[in-house]
Symmetry: C2
C-alpha cells in the first residue's frame, strides 16, 4: 500500500489537528507516516517549520501532505509559501463563515483551547484523573458520593482504561468497582455500592476475549480459564440485569466508544465549560 508522509504544523501541540487529519485519511487506503511540528508561534519558528517540510519532502517519493492550524496570518503565510508539500489549511477555511455567523471578528489568538493549564476546566480534569485513580478497582469508598459514575464489571473487562479516559477527556469523576465471585455467591452487589444505584454503569465482555486477556496476565490459571470466564460474565450480567443496570460490551468497542455510550445513558450534570 501507498505510504504518504503527513506533517501537522500547529501553533499549539497539534494533537487535535493530528487526530482530525487521521480521521480524514482513514477514508483512504493508504499507510501514513506522521510528523508533528508543534509550537510554531513566531515567524522565526515558521521558517524552521518550512525547512522541516523541505527535509521531509526531499526524502519522499510523493510530496508530503501538510495540515496546518496556524491562527496568526503572518505565520500562516510563511508556512504556506513553501511549495514542497500539498497544503491543507484546517483553520482559515472555517474562520470567515464563523465570523459572519457569530457577527464578530475572531481573536486570531493561538492555542486558546482546553489545553490551557490555568483554566478551571483544566484543573477539574486533573482533579477527575486523581479521583478516578484513587477510586480504581474499588480501592476506597471514601468520597464515593462525589463520583459522577461508578463502573462495575468482572475483573479485566476494561473498567480502568474507560474510567481514566472519562476523566482525562471529559473531566468526569469515574470510580470503578469489580464484581467478584464472592458477589455472585452472595448474589448481590458489593455493599459499598449501596445508595449509588443511579450512578452505576456496567461493562461486560465476551468470555472468549476475557479469557485471552486474563491469560496474558496469568497464563493457565483457573482465573483465566474459559469456563470460569463464562461463569463470571454470565453471573455479572444476571446481577446487572436484576438491578436494572445498563451495560455495554467492551469486546469490540474502544474506550472512546464506551465513554460516549456512558455519557448518553447516564445523566451527568453539566461541567463548567469555558473554552
Amino acid at each position: 500500500m501507498n505510504t504518504r508522509n503527513i506533517i501537522i504544523v500547529s501553533d499549539g501541540t497539534g494533537i487535535t489537528a493530528e487526530n482530525f487529519a487521521h480521521s480524514l485519511l482513514a477514508q483512504f487506503d493508504i499507510n501514513i507516516k506522521d510528523h508533528r511540528v508543534p509550537f510554531i508561534d513566531s515567524v522565526d519558528k515558521a521558517h524552521i517549520a518550512v525547512q522541516k517540510i523541505k527535509d521531509i519532502a526531499a526524502n519522499s517519493t510523493n510530496r508530503p501532505i501538510v495540515f496546518t492550524t496556524l491562527v496568526n496570518s503572518e505565520i500562516n503565510a510563511v508556512v504556506h509559501a513553501c511549495d514542497a508539500g500539498y497544503f491543507i489549511d484546517l483553520f482559515t477555511i472555517f474562520v470567515s463563515p464563523l465570523e459572519a455567523e457569530l457577527g464578530m471578528n475572531s481573536n486570531h489568538t493561538s492555542n486558546r483551547l482546553h489545553h490551557n493549564a490555568d483554566s478551571v476546566a483544566y484543573r477539574n480534569r486533573i482533579e477527575a484523573i486523581n479521583f478516578s485513580l484513587m477510586h480504581d478497582d474499588g480501592q476506597t469508598n471514601k468520597n464515593l458520593d462525589e463520583a459522577d459514575v461508578i463502573l462495575v464489571g468482572v475483573s479485566r473487562c476494561g473498567k480502568t482504561p474507560t474510567s481514566l479516559y472519562l476523566a482525562m477527556q471529559h473531566g468526569i469523576k469515574a470510580a470503578n468497582c469489580p464484581l467478584i465471585p464472592e458477589d455472585f455467591e452472595r448474589n448481590r452487589l458489593p455493599s459499598s455500592l449501596d445508595g449509588f444505584r443511579h450512578k452505576l454503569f456496567g461493562l461486560s465482555i465476551e468470555p472468549q476475549r476475557l479469557s485471552e486477556i486474563r491469560n496474558e496476565r496469568r497464563a493457565g490459571s483457573k482465573y483465566a480459564a474459559l469456563e470460569n470466564c463464562r461463569y463470571e460474565v454470565n453471573e455479572a450480567e444476571k446481577l446487572m440485569k436484576r438491578h436494572g443496570i445498563s451495560w455495554a460490551s467492551s469486546t469490540h468497542k474502544s474506550i472512546e466508544e464506551i465513554a460516549t455510550t456512558i455519557l448518553q445513558e447516564i445523566n451527568i450534570p453539566d461541567k463548567e465549560h469555558v473554552i
Copy 2:
C-alpha cells in the same frame, strides 16, 4: 457574554470533531453549550438527529451551530436538509481535494479511525495504559526496560497524569518515579533508574504552585510547606542538571503540552501506525 448552542453530529463518537470545533470556537469571545449527537450511522438515525437539532433550536435565542462529520453522503444529505441550524461540514470539504491529491476515491466508510478496538494500534494503547499504571510512582521496577520514557520529579509535580496521557493518546509506555528527600540527602538518583539515564525526562514546578497542590492533600503539613517545596524543587533541579536530564515545568503547561515537549526531546521508536 453570548452563549451559543453547539451540536456535533457524527457517525462515530464525535470526540475528534468536538475537540476540533472547540479549537475553532476558542478564537471567539463566546460561551458555548455543547451537545454531542454520536453514532449517526443510518438514515433512520439521521432523522432522529434532525429532530434533536430542531428541539435544541426551539429552545435557543440564536440558531445552533451544527458541526457534522458524516462520511455517508445519504446520511449527510438528510442532516444537512435541516434548516434549524447553521451547518459546518467538517468532512466533505476536505475529501475532494484529498481524492485528487492521493489519486484515489475515498472509502466513504464511517468511523475507520484509531477508535477501532480491534486494531493492533488500539491494543498497544491499552497495553501502554496498563504499563503506565503499573509503573506509576515507582511502584515496581519490573520490566522497566520496556518503558519508552521514565518521568522523574518531586511528589505532586504532575508525573502521573502526564504518564497516563502519553499512554492513552500516544500509546507510549511511560513509567514515573518520584525524587524524594532521601535521594537529595544521598545526592543521587534512585538506584532503580541505573542504566536508564537515556530514558529519563524530568518534570519540575514552581514551589509556590507545588505548595498549593500539596496543601489540598495535606493541609498544614511540613510536606506542603512552601519552604520545604522550595528545598525539594531546588534539589531535584540540581540533581537533574548534574545528570544532564532535560526537564519541563508543569506550572503553566497542560499535560498535552508537556507530552508534546517530551516527544520532541526523547527519541521514541516509531509506533506501528495503521489508521
